[in-house]
């Protein structure tokens, strides 16, 4: 039994390392992440409204059905992004920016929000 203790311990440590690495790199390979799901809806740097969630499916899970949601996949490679729109004072309007591939940048803050 004692002869097996070291190989078993090594095996467990290796398994632990493999598990940890695969969890950490999983976001890179997540084909169903939000960015991938939204890529099929609109082209880069354009605003596209996504369908309201229904009992039979939703473009993005856990979206609030009380809101109309539009997304814009932005690419800052060519310069800064400017958002312009009508001033809907009577409606609740929220703009949130997510860094690409949530999970890779977990230790960085998201980009700032435009002033309300």
């Amino acid at each position: 039994m004692k002869k097996l203790a070291l190989p078993i311990a090594v095996g467990l440590v290796l398994a632990g390392i493999v598990h940890l690495v695969s969890v950490l790199i999983m976001p890179n390979f997540a084909e169903r992440d939000a960015y991938s799901r939204l890529s099929v809806i609109g082209s880069t740097n354009t605003v596209a409204q996504i369908d309201d969630p229904t009992p039979f499916g939703a473009v993005l899970p856990a979206t609030d059905p009380a809101f109309v949601t539009a997304v814009c996949l932005y690419d800052l490679g060519d310069g800064p992004l400017r958002l312009q729109g009508a001033d809907h004072r009577r409606l609740h309007l929220g703009v949130v920016l997510y860094p690409p591939r949530p999970g890779l940048l977990r230790h960085q803050r998201p980009l700032g929000r435009p002033p309300r």
Binding site: A34, L60, A62, D64, V96, R106
Partner: protein
């Protein structure tokens, strides 16, 4: 771990400064929310400019119903005179604010607060006052 699971599920979570979500799958007594029962949410809601309450099944899907009703917003709910709100959840229509559960055995309530005071989001203020969630009667 959370980032990996969010990436797989494709969720874009509410950012802290935009809104705050509270999710309940048990009542105040610790019992799982059973959509075959009559459940009541009552009391004061935490301070926020605007809130929405959404009912889903255990997988987070909206529940199909003839009224096409999936939740309430603070602007839609009928309020009591004292600033409290009463919302009934159940398989059959009830007077007042009613959310159809479709008699699903497991339901989940999500309260999303929009423009809540920063203290709630950062947990630097006292815990917000939450309404009571009680299972009233079961078949």
């Amino acid at each position: 771990m959370r980032c990996a699971s969010l990436a797989r599920a494709g969720e874009l979570p509410l950012e802290q400064a935009d809104g705050l979500a509270f999710i309940a799958n048990t009542d105040d007594g610790g019992n799982a929310l059973d959509g075959r029962c009559d459940i009541r949410l009552s009391g004061k809601l935490p301070q926020a400019r605007f809130w929405t309450l959404t009912l889903t099944d255990s997988r987070g899907r909206l529940i199909d119903n003839a009224a096409n009703r999936f939740g309430f917003t603070s602007a839609e709910a009928v309020w009591n005179g004292d600033g409290t709100v009463d919302i009934a959840l159940g398989p059959r229509s009830r007077a007042g604010n009613w959310l159809p559960t479709g008699a699903r055995d497991r339901v989940v309530l999500t309260l999303r607060l929009y423009d809540a005071p920063v203290g709630i989001a950062t947990r630097t203020s006292d815990a917000p006052e939450m309404p009571a969630l009680v299972t009233e009667r079961c078949p």
